[in-house]
């Protein structure tokens, strides 16, 4: 046990929705004093850095209501209850892009907002892509535009803030790093 641990004295569920739930906790701090923590619980998610045989990155443009704008992201989606991340990654890739992949490799996992949320994102690299004729459909409240970008185009999108979220920024930088290592 870490000396930095905060003990839960009381936890109240304020809201439980279809994506997130909100809890307010009274905690005991390491110095014995008390404070409140506002906690969002989330089922976790996957994101897929899918690279075609032509070395294009498969991206989706999507309206994000929280931001009141569209951004361009690598395909991603929430874990369903009991779903294995790798299964979810293959499902979301197909649903959002129509691609299936031969090779799927976990690159990393990270918490997105540890200050207030338990959301974790598992980031996969997908290769050996092929378009499926009759792909699984998007969720009924999901609308996306497909884009296939070179790394140079993706880096320009980051600069122009069309790509503007953590997992996609990480994914683009990952490919920059692979290129830098590979070209040594």
């Amino acid at each position: 046990m870490s000396s930095l641990e905060e003990k839960t004295l009381h936890s109240e569920e304020i809201f439980s929705g279809k994506v997130i739930s909100l809890h307010v906790q009274d905690v005991e701090l390491p110095n014995g004093k008390q404070s409140k923590r506002e906690i969002i619980k989330h089922p976790g998610a996957v994101a897929i850095l899918a690279v075609t045989d032509e070395n294009k990155i498969v991206m989706v443009e999507q309206y994000r209501k929280a931001l009141e704008r569209t951004i361009v992201e690598i395909p991603a989606g929430k874990l369903e209850k009991g779903e294995q991340p790798e299964v979810c990654a293959r499902r979301e890739l197909e649903e959002e892009t129509g691609y299936v992949c031969e090779n799927l490799e976990l690159l990393t996992s990270f918490y997105t907002s540890p200050g207030f949320a338990d959301e974790i994102v598992h980031v996969y690299l997908a290769k050996g892509l092929s378009k499926k004729e009759n792909s699984a459909a998007l969720d009924e409240d999901e609308f996306v535009n497909l884009e296939e970008l070179t790394l140079t185009e993706a880096m320009k999108y980051v600069e122009d803030q069309k790509i503007y979220d953590a997992k996609t920024a990480f994914a683009v930088q990952y490919l920059q790093l692979q290129e830098a290592i590979g070209s040594k």
Copy 2:
């Protein structure tokens, strides 16, 4: 206006706390149907990749109640009302680590969880570090342990999931990329 836009029909504030607020919105989808969106509003944050003259990365170990564990992160903190990100970055760096910096450069900004939150993180690179004798103090409910890591140590921390959050994963990969480019 994008054809992907979702129009707000009704928005209700469910909760307003000291860090976040929660809103549930009825939206009109691009196909005219309706859905609900659960939205977290957050003031935004800064994170500081601070590198010492000895090429060590300044990190803080912190208990994250949302995760029920400690993780090691680059220093970070919420924007105060009306505060400029650069001012916030200098303040948080000093409060959490005791360091002040000569040079502060914005590396990038990204949304952490665009699916449900508007939190943006501005990531800065801080160099020319020096310890201040009488540093500004931590918030009264904030407890951290300071660590100074080489890049190799930080990469091991990522592998061991001691470093486990988006902004810090991005920052470590940024330094890997700089090293790869520099050593070509």
